[in-house]
């Protein structure tokens, strides 16, 4: 069943790429939505309970290396799988429009399917293959369909002459951002691959279910590789560019899915390499909390809405990193919840800023102007809702991830020491306060204020409404019933190495 859930979007995606001249964009998007929905349903049905590996597939692949086509959904990966497929469906729904390029839909499907493959892999090499497979299509999405704002934003980091970006051409700016993204992540992947090789040599196996520990060097390399993807400060500088230059669906996939490849990887690393990860955990936690404060401050100075949301993602991933570094059951629950919640909330934020960019040709808050409450009421309300969810209002999805990771750090766990963990809590709390400040600022600049009508003022269209309602509903459901996800980790005693073996109920 898992194989089918992965194959369907892959096949449909490839077909759309090759037959892109034969279908209209609208048809392609519909096809894509159906394929992703089928995948979503299959992944939902595959679930066999939190104590087992659901829908396990294990066939021979590269015998020489000991690599197998080993797929399955675990308690940790299942929420990621569902979230990814869900976001994939919404991205396709978003693309149901006349000006959609069929090839873009195809790429979106391939990216989603590759990411699903990462989450479903139980073989470290297969994991890596899918991990890389998602990169190249993303380069095309950013480079071909990306754009930059008409006027380069004042705070934009067009800096050194080394960057091959002459300012005026937006296409080149997008291509440079795409290349930057690719170079950063490929470098991270290279470290990751070396780490995987070290682990495989040590354990004589590539199966995540069998790996128990590895050398410290492997842990360092693997964590570094995932840290680029997550991203942890100071490896984050690719992200604001890539997110803000990418087209709407690209930004959504980057934020909601790609960053999760990093956090999921960190969870995996903490679970299969417990000793090695414990040694690096303080650095992960430190980078995480510094990132929370750092990115919140950076957000406060942004004018470009997409850059602002991109920076805010770094902060949210900081909470997840902090949670993972505690290596406690509550930390894992926090990391998974935080990742999924960030996926839906930031997905919504990027969709809405995409709506704004479609209308006004730019995501600059100054150019869009004030008073959206009056000009495009529902769009403004949805934006304020998403902002409030993102700043962690209790009762919405964003809160529980933050709360649980604060709790994980407050309760210290067995890896960090108390003064360090509590300092981290202090920084994280400061970050929450700053997050409130920059979102209040954004609401003030966009939603409130004396409205000055522009020609481009149009409220949400049908497809935008469908996407927004779906995401708002999931944010509310996760916010009111956090047990849906946290309950998956509700073992009275989770042993870390036991995460991949069924835990006795």
């Amino acid at each position: 069943m898992i194989a089918a859930a992965l194959t369907i979007p892959f096949v449909v995606g490839l077909a759309l790429l090759f037959l892109r001249t034969l279908v209209s964009g609208r048809t392609a998007a519909w096809l894509g939505a159906v394929a992703m929905a089928a995948s979503l349903v299959l992944f939902a049905l595959v679930w066999e309970g939190k104590d087992a590996i659901s829908g396990e597939v294990d066939v021979e692949w590269i015998d020489l290396l000991g690599a197998r086509l080993h797929l399955g959904a675990t308690a940790i990966s299942w929420p990621f799988l569902l979230m990814t497929a869900f976001i994939g469906v919404l991205c396709c729904v978003w693309l149901i429009a006349d000006d959609t390029a069929p090839a873009l839909v195809g790429l979106v499907l391939i990216i989603s399917a590759s990411s699903l493959g990462v989450f479903a892999s139980l073989d470290f090499l297969l994991f890596f293959v899918f991990f890389e497979l998602a990169l190249i299509p993303m380069w095309f999405v950013i480079a071909w369909w990306g754009s930059s704002s008409v006027e380069p934003s004042a705070e934009g980091d067009r800096g050194g002459g080394l960057k091959n970006v002459p300012g005026p051409d937006p296409r080149l700016a997008a291509r440079s951002a795409a290349t930057r993204f690719l170079l950063f992540t490929v470098t991270g992947s290279a470290l990751l691959l070396v780490g995987i090789v070290l682990v495989a040599r040590d354990n004589d196996s590539l199966q995540l279910t069998e790996i128990r520990g590895g050398p410290l060097a492997a842990a360092v390399l693997i964590v570094l590789g995932f840290a680029v993807k997550t991203p942890l400060v100071p490896l984050h500088t690719w992200l604001p560019d890539a997110h803000s230059k990418a087209p709407t669906v690209g930004s959504v996939l980057l934020a909601a899915v790609f960053l999760k490849l990093g956090t999921y990887g960190l969870i995996i690393a903490s679970s299969v390499l417990p000793e090695g990860f414990a040694d690096v955990a303080p650095y992960v936690a430190g980078a995480g909390v510094v990132g929370i404060v750092w990115s919140a401050l950076a957000c406060y100075a942004q004018d470009d809405l997409k850059r602002l949301i991109a920076y805010s993602s770094i902060g949210h991933m900081g909470f997840v990193a902090l949670a993972i570094s505690t290596m406690s059951p509550i930390g894992i629950a926090a990391a998974v919840f935080g990742s999924v919640a960030h996926g839906v909330i930031t997905g919504l934020l990027f969709f809405l800023s995409g709506s704004l960019k479609d209308r006004f040709g730019t995501a600059s808050m100054r150019a869009i102007g004030r008073g959206l409450y009056a000009r495009t009421p529902w769009l403004a309300v949805a934006f304020v809702f998403a902002a409030v969810a993102s700043l962690g209002l209790p009762g919405l999805a964003g809160f529980w991830g933050e709360l649980l990771s604060l709790r994980a750090a407050y309760e210290v766990g067995e890896v960090l020491d108390k003064p360090f963990a509590w300092t981290a809590v202090g920084f994280a709390v400061l970050g929450v306060a700053l997050t409130t400040a920059y979102f209040v600022r954004a609401i003030r600049l966009l939603a409130q204020g004396e409205p000055v009508a522009q020609d481009a003022d149009r409220d949400l269209t049908v497809r935008e409404t469908v996407v927004a309602v779906a995401l708002v509903a999931s944010i509310v459901v996760l916010g009111l019933a956090p047990g849906l996800i946290v309950g998956l980790y509700d073992f009275s005693a989770v042993t870390y190495s036991g995460t991949y073996t069924p835990v006795a109920p």
């Binding site: 400060v233 500088t237 690719w238 950076a298 209002l393 809590v425 306060a433 956090p482």
Partner: protein
């Protein structure tokens, strides 16, 4: 107009449901009920606890909420955004109900912050105006940042007591009181606008007046008092926390009363009065008398809602909340005049209004705080003295506001004001009746009663005497009018610091952190240029290199073998 009654009906249904739930608990008989059991890891269960206190606060909240909804049909019924306004009020009431009945601390936190959000949305209802935008942002930021104290405090409670259920926490011996108390104090000081986080409340006044009556007088700001009263048994053992609470409340009540005395704006004066009265409640809590504190909460909720709603009627009539635009309204607006007179009397503590009795209880508790209770004796005496001074000032500013609004000569050149419509005066009458009715059954302390009456009479008399002699009631105290510049850190220093550090971060991000990626790019360029020299395409050079290589390899082979 008809569509606005829909929301009144909705609120009324909510109020009736809550009343049916709460009324049986008025005589004590606390009930704890778990609706949904939480799982082990998350430990969030939907549990409620209703006792006499929470039943009373519930009735106050839904009662004032319903009155405010009725009042708003006339006050804002024709506003283009009436629908969102009315719905946010309902959401607010749900948040308040959650705070009051929650037995699980996380449920309490959800309600607590939902209230903060609704307050933000409602203060910013007139978001076209800069003053409403900044007031809303300030209120939200200050309260939410303070709320983080509650969040960490809840984590501390959970780890100390091993449970997040209030009833289970209270059943245990108090532990770790100082740390938990300090964290909760941060949240409470923010939410209830106490010194030094008091400046957001007066700036929240650009919100619609009915909202001020509901959120910023009767319910949300009083939630801090309620929370401390509820958790008093685990906070009381810490002398530090109680002393701090007493000092904060003493400073706040005095400052609030002084600022209220010099305001030229009726609504802002009432806001400062709220700050000061909330401090009264905290003072009672700091000597360990939660009943006195919560009784004053209920009575203040009634008469301050009355005053704010009355203020709304006056604003409706004269189109401004400035005292200079008022005056001469006694005959023009008889219902508003008489009901507000009752409200001012309750504020000043005139017998037999409920304000007299509950203020009396607070003073009584403070007086006894010297000998018993958690405070050091000296502090209790000092707070008692400050409370007496505040009573004097309160009577004085209540009288001043009453005189300037209704009895002063009418402002020149204004159209003749008219009494507010019935939907607005009705709630005033109900609240005025409540201001007397709540007095029934209140404790009475003869000695303190005489003392406080004397103080109140002195305050009223001082202002009246000045008024009789025809002197201005505006005090020439520029420092007080500027509110001692206590707002400056929040309005200037912190935002400026934030802006400059944000800019610094962006610069460092671009020029500092990104340096390694540029650095590696330029290294790669240099390296490629060096390697490019080798691949020059010149066959002679290749041949030379090959020859040199052969020689080196041969030499090496010869040497090593």
């Amino acid at each position: 107009m008809r569509r606005s009654w829909l929301y009144v009906v909705l609120t009324a249904a909510l109020a009736v449901a809550v009343a049916v739930w709460a009324v049986p608990h008025l005589d004590g008989d606390p009930t704890t009920k778990v609706w949904i059991e939480g799982n082990d890891l998350l430990a969030v269960s939907l549990a409620t606890h209703v006792d006499s206190l929470s039943a009373q606060v519930l009735l106050l909240a839904v009662g004032v909420g319903l009155l405010v909804q009725i009042y708003s049909t006339a006050y804002l019924g024709h506003h283009p955004r009436y629908r969102s306004y009315a719905l946010v009020i309902v959401l607010f009431l749900l948040g308040m109900i959650a705070v009051v009945v929650a037995d699980d601390l996380f449920v309490l936190l959800i309600g607590w912050e939902v209230m903060g959000l609704c307050s933000y949305l409602l203060i910013g209802h007139e978001w076209q105006t800069p003053i409403a935008r900044s007031g809303a942002a300030k209120a939200f930021l200050m309260t939410r940042i303070a709320d983080l104290g509650l969040l960490v405090g809840i984590l501390a409670i959970g780890q100390t007591y091993g449970t997040y259920r209030i009833s289970e926490v209270l059943a245990q011996e108090p532990k770790n009181s100082t740390a938990i108390g300090l964290l909760l104090l941060v949240a409470v000081v923010g939410k209830s606008a106490q010194f030094p986080l008091h400046t957001w409340l007066p700036d929240a006044m650009p919100g619609p007046t009915p909202i001020t009556a509901l959120i910023h007088a009767a319910t949300m700001v009083a939630a801090g008092v309620y929370l401390v009263a509820r958790l008093l048994p685990i906070l009381e053992p810490s002398e530090l926390v109680m002393t701090l609470l007493a000092v904060i409340s003493a400073i706040t009540m005095l400052l609030g009363a002084l600022f209220a005395l010099v305001q030229t704006d009726l609504k802002r004066a009432l806001a400062w009065s709220t700050v000061s009265q909330l401090a009264f409640m905290f003072a009672a809590l700091s000597v360990g008398d939660s009943d006195a504190g919560t009784d004053h909460l209920l009575s203040h909720g009634a008469f301050k809602a009355l005053l704010f709603l009355g203020c709304g009627c006056v604003m409706h009539a004269v189109g401004s909340s400035a005292l200079s635009a008022m005056g001469g309204l006694r005959l023009r607006m008889p219902v508003t005049f008489w009901t507000m007179t009752i409200g001012f009397a309750a504020l000043a503590g005139v017998i037999p209004t409920v304000g007299f009795f509950t203020k009396d209880s607070v003073l009584h508790a403070l007086e006894h705080g010297r000998d018993e209770g958690p405070l050091p004796g000296g502090i209790a005496v000092a707070v008692f003295c400050v409370a007496l001074v505040t009573s004097f000032l309160t009577a004085a500013y209540a009288t001043r506001l009453w005189l300037l609004a209704f009895l002063a000569p009418a402002a020149e050149g204004r159209t003749e004001p008219h009494e507010a419509p019935r939907a607005m005066t009705g709630p005033l009458i109900v609240l005025a009746v409540a201001t007397f009715a709540l007095s029934i059954g209140q404790p009475f302390h003869l000695g303190i009663g005489l003392l406080s009456t004397a103080v109140a009479v002195a305050g009223i008399g001082a202002v009246l005497a000045r008024w009789r002699r025809g002197r201005s009631l505006d005090l020439a105290a520029p420092w007080l009018v500027a509110e001692l510049a206590l707002d400056r850190p929040y309005s200037r220093w912190i935002p400026a610091g934030l802006r400059s550090s944000a800019r610094a971060v962006v610069d460092v991000d671009r020029d500092g952190i990104d340096a390694y990626s540029y650095g590696s790019a330029s290294t790669a360029q240099v390296a490629s240029r060096v390697l490019g020299l080798v691949q020059s395409g010149n066959v002679q050079r290749y041949a030379t290199v090959i020859a040199a290589g052969v020689i080196v390899v041969t030499a090496a082979a010869v040497i090593w073998t």
